[in-house]
Symmetry: C2
Subunit: 161 residues, 2 copies
DNA sequence: GTATAGTTGACTGTTTTAGTCGGTTTAATA
DNA sequence: TATTAAACCGACTAAAACAGTCAACTATAC
């Protein structure tokens, strides 16, 4: 089992998509700028998200990505699974054979842990996340941040000119 | 956050130590044979477990390792932390600065998940594990397995001879 | 037709995993 | 006292995953 920036990026990007839904498709360039994630890396992640039918794409100018289901029908576990291939803590993939064909001493412990993690993550939908105060305030800051960095670029343009 | 064979090996080895306590120190060679873990790898893991004062060692012939505390005072989270350096799911180490100094969109989600996992793993002690039926039956099999594999080696010795 | 944005595949440096190998102490025992 | 069983220690390795880059291609709105 592993949970690294790959899974975190995917959930963050999906949440960004949910927040900016309703105004047409969201481009990866926008997400990249707002969330500070490499555009090329996002492309890789969204290829997997699309294969798992969590998002749909619109090509061409003004295009981008949209959620392929309602916000309350996409949970965090699905997103992580899509890019990470499962949040399984066992060494055997639940087959119970990591001790040369037999169940190892701690197999059931890891099964229980996996269930706990999956239960927790699959109970939280994108809609749930959007209602949280901390998410709202960060989204608010990122909105301001976008304008601020635009002004910054004008200032730095003057300085360098 | 990552949970791989390293952490699983550590917990399995500690549980083996608990099961075979009372009959003097347990050598890594014994654990290696019973649990199918590389001896040299076990040495690395036990160096960390000893540094974290979860086990104590006895050198020389007849030596080995012993638990450094009571079985009910060692929990799974401590063992994993000792070899793995924390089961933290955040990207910022709880400092809240992975978005160039600010909290990222999903920071609180990962904090919550980390709490969940830590609460679950720190509530389970080695003593708890030993009472479980599945652990008892696997330990029983491994006792028999040792004799069986000894017979197997005699048979294969005849075959190859 | 041009600019935008998704799509694809190959490539890269770095870190971690899961070990291996060779040697050194330490201590029990024959 | 010599042998030997064990912990200890450091360096090394192949393979995988991570995080990201780059270049080329396709679809489409204007
Ligand atoms: S983790 Fe399932 S058998 Fe070992
Ligand atoms: S995970 Fe803590 S700030 Fe992003």
């Amino acid at each position: 089992m592993r949970l690294t920036t790959k899974g975190r990026y995917a959930v963050t990007a999906m949440l960004d998509l949910a927040i900016h839904a309703g105004k047409g498709p969201v481009s990866l360039a926008d997400i990249s700028e707002r969330q500070g994630i490499s555009l090329s890396y996002l492309e890789q992640l969204f290829a997997k998200l699309r294969r798992n039918e969590l998002v749909r794409s619109v090509r061409g100018p003004g295009g981008g990505y949209q959620l392929n289901r309602e916000q309350q029908d996409i949970d965090v576990a699905q997103v992580i699974d899509a890019v990470n291939e499962s949040v399984d803590a066992t060494g055997c993939g639940h087959t119970g054979n990591c001790q040369d064909g037999n169940v190892c001493l701690t197999h059931h412990l890891w099964c229980d842990l996996s269930s706990q993690i999956h239960a927790f993550l699959s109970q939280i939908s994108l809609a749930d996340l959007m209602e949280r105060n901390d998410v709202r305030s960060v989204a608010e800051r990122q909105g301001r941040g976008h304008i601020a960095s635009f002004e910054d670029s004008l200032i730095s343009a003057k300085v360098t000119a």
